[in-house]
């Protein structure tokens, strides 16, 4: 088999995996946007916050330890226990629900009916706020994230030997694919199927879709907007936690985790803000596109690191021809 072609296919496969992770973050955006018309820039920071909280709970850190020490002159850092991963994840989910409630109660309840762009800016403020709180709570240093089940198997790291061996025997070229990426893809698929089932077949899911369709009509048939919004933010928090675990296990929990939110934006633009399948397809296109572009054009001709901007440029060009994205609802404007 042609070496160059095999290499390209490998890059393609890795791009697909990266795309799944982008899609995971983008999913959280779509959920909130559909139900409340808020474009939640803070989604990435929520992933960071969730991952930091998870690590903090696992390691038994005292929240706000640095601040407490600075104010009272004490020297506390840890409770001295470590919590099992599963329990820590459940606790983190509760923290994210509490966060969803707080965000709804203290921020967006007061901003109902404002211009979408004002809401967007409020979420940028929220992103800064959350990032500061997360750093104050758990400290800003790089943390390793290990999620293990009770029998001691952890999220796998490193490359998949089986895949490499098989492809080497069959094609004469071993494909290098991260184990973690494979797990992330499976988790993402389960998550998407779960969310779609939830939206289609449960009472809350139907209410959620009703709110997305028309706030006032939903209100008039007795759907509690407040509850639905908290529900949606909690779901987004849960998606953020999953994304945070995957990205955190891949590259450690640190500030740059929140920047993946920025990568999710072009994904959304490609897929359309209002479509869950769009988020997935957009993520895959961006993931594959930027890896292939970097491999075929960026690194040889443009001096590399084109991954920083390729996604945005692609989205920009794409939008000029189709302003509502691939799967978005057609924008109709009236005076």
């Amino acid at each position: 088999m042609n070496e160059q072609l095999a290499f390209t296919i490998e890059v393609f496969a890795n791009g697909l995996m990266a795309g799944v992770l982008y899609a995971l973050v983008a999913l959280g955006f779509v959920l909130i946007y559909k139900a409340s018309g808020i474009f939640n820039y803070a989604q990435g920071v929520m992933a960071l916050f969730a991952a930091m909280t998870l690590v903090g709970i696992q390691n038994g850190q005292v929240p706000f330890a640095h601040l407490i020490n600075a104010i009272f002159g004490t020297d506390v850092h840890k409770f001295g226990w470590s919590v099992h991963s599963f329990v820590a994840i459940v606790l983190t989910v509760f923290v994210m629900i509490a966060l969803a409630w707080a965000v709804q109660r203290f921020v967006f309840r007061h901003l109902v009916g404002q211009e979408p762009i004002i809401l967007f800016m409020a979420t940028i403020g929220l992103a800064y706020f959350l990032e500061g709180v997360a750093d104050l709570m758990w400290g800003s240093e790089l943390k390793a994230l290990n999620v293990c089940s009770s029998d001691g198997t952890c999220l796998p790291q490193g490359m998949n030997m089986w895949l490499e061996g098989t492809t080497y025997e069959a094609l004469g070229y071993g494909f290098f694919i991260d184990n973690l990426d494979i797990v992330a893809s499976i988790v993402a698929v389960i998550l998407v199927v779960g969310l779609v089932m939830f939206a289609q077949y449960t009472k809350q899911g139907r209410a959620m879709r009703a709110v997305a369709d028309d706030h006032q009509a939903a209100l008039s048939v007795g759907v509690s907007l407040n509850f639905i919004w908290i529900l949606v933010w909690s779901l987004a928090g849960f998606v953020a936690l999953v994304a945070g675990i995957m990205w955190g296990a891949k590259s450690g929990v640190q500030f740059s985790l929140s920047l993946i939110a920025l990568k999710a934006l072009p994904v959304l633009m490609l897929g359309g803000f209002t479509s869950i399948p769009g988020a997935i397809v957009g993520g895959l296109i961006i993931g594959v596109g930027e890896k292939l572009f970097e491999f075929l054009i960026g690194a040889p001709f443009l001096g590399g690191a084109t991954e920083n901007w390729f996604a945005y440029m692609l989205a920009l060009l794409f939008l000029v021809f189709r302003p509502q994205g691939l799967f978005g609802e057609k924008i109709i404007e009236r005076v």
Partner: protein, 370 residues
């Protein structure tokens, strides 16, 4: 008692249409100008200039520029950092003489520009780039546009990082401002007198503010605002959206480019593009105009002053008085800035400028309640 229009009669159209029709406002404006130009240069020292006044003046220009685009024309942009970088690198190239290469040979080299014209060229070039990235705004709206401007941000920063022509092939990849003067007074480089740098920036700030103020209350400003309020309706009553949006992008980028050029040449002196003109800078300037007031020139100044002062004040209180570690204060600053953004958007979406307007309204009636 003293702030009112009663007894202030205009007898010509020019008087009626001046920027500050109320006498008190006008005298206050002259007083501020007088203090800024005549008094301040004699009393300042290095610390004041470098940690407060220069950043304030330069950010004020950037905020005015962004406010024209976001506040007046309603096109949200997250590319401010990238545009500032264009200003900075253009200024650098013109300061050191632009070299044009063709086929591996040096075709010719422009003479080194005076620092003043280098800064202006920074603005002009940024305006061109701004228009280029503004073209999609004719098709894309709202956050779609905001995200599209991110393309400008990341692409421009990448370009200045990778193409060595922009930093004159220096090994460090940085650009360093060489020493330049106007009529013997040093303006860039390490041994600049504080008052000279201050006056140079002040000149640009005042000029930009006056231009912006007059543009926004003239025909072009009204067109921008019509586009902002509802672009389709504006188009129907005869505003050309192509022209209005692109002029907004051009004027806004021009100011942002000037501020980027000054930021590099006068304030920092040496720039590494990813650090200085990253996405954080775009957000910082956006926050300035949200806190200061969207669609207000005064608001741009107020927001710039607020966000320049806040970190300094926090540092003084947190680190110097309370003795806290600097990282806690830095995190607290994030919390406070983020919280303030939310509070302002909830309580006063028009920012500090609106508070000022309300205060003036109260003053006008004082001491009577109605």
């Amino acid at each position: 008692m003293f702030y009112r229009e009663a007894g202030d009669f205009s007898s010509t159209y020019a008087e009626d249409q001046q920027t500050f029709p109320i006498k008190f406002d006008r005298y206050r404006y002259y007083l501020v100008l007088f203090i800024a130009i005549v008094v301040v240069p004699f009393v300042i020292n290095d610390y004041w200039v470098n940690s407060l006044l220069l950043p304030f003046l330069i950010y004020a220009i950037a905020a005015i520029g962004l406010n024209i685009l976001v506040g007046y024309c309603g096109q949200v942009s997250l590319g401010t950092g990238g545009f500032m970088a264009v200003g900075a690198y253009t200024c650098y190239k013109f300061m050191t003489g632009v070299d044009i290469w063709w086929g591996g040979e040096l075709l010719f080299r422009l003479p080194e520009f005076n620092i003043f014209f280098s800064v202006i060229m920074g603005g002009v070039m940024t305006a061109v780039v701004g228009v280029l990235f503004g073209l999609p705004s004719l098709r894309i709206k709202g956050f779609y546009l905001a995200v599209a401007t991110l393309a400008a941000q990341f692409f421009l920063v990448w370009m200045f990082n990778r193409i060595s022509w922009f930093y004159n092939y220096s090994a460090s990849g940085q650009i360093n401002a060489p020493e330049r003067d106007i009529m013997g007074v040093l303006l860039t480089g390490p041994s600049v007198q504080p008052w000279a740098a201050y006056l140079f920036c002040l000149f640009f700030t005042i000029t930009c503010a006056v231009i912006a103020r007059n543009m926004t209350r003239g025909a072009s400003g009204r067109k921008w605002m019509a586009i902002r309020d509802m672009d389709i309706a504006a188009e129907i009553i005869g505003v050309n959206p192509l022209k209005a949006k692109l002029t907004a992008f051009a004027v806004s980028s021009f100011f942002i480019g000037i501020s980027g050029a000054l930021f590099f040449s006068v304030y920092l002196g040496a720039v590494e593009v990813g650090e200085v003109f990253g996405i954080q800078k775009s957000f910082l300037v956006l926050f300035m105009i949200i806190i200061g007031g969207l669609g207000s020139i005064f608001g741009s100044f107020a927001g710039a002053a607020f966000l320049v002062l806040l970190p300094v004040a926090l540092k003084v209180v947190g680190v110097d008085w309370l003795g806290w570690p600097t990282d806690i204060v830095a995190h607290l600053q994030l919390v406070i800035v983020g919280g303030l953004i939310i509070i302002f958007l909830i309580a006063e979406p028009h920012g500090i400028a609106q508070l000022w307007r309300v205060a003036k309204e109260k003053l006008r009636l004082w001491p009577f309640p109605h």
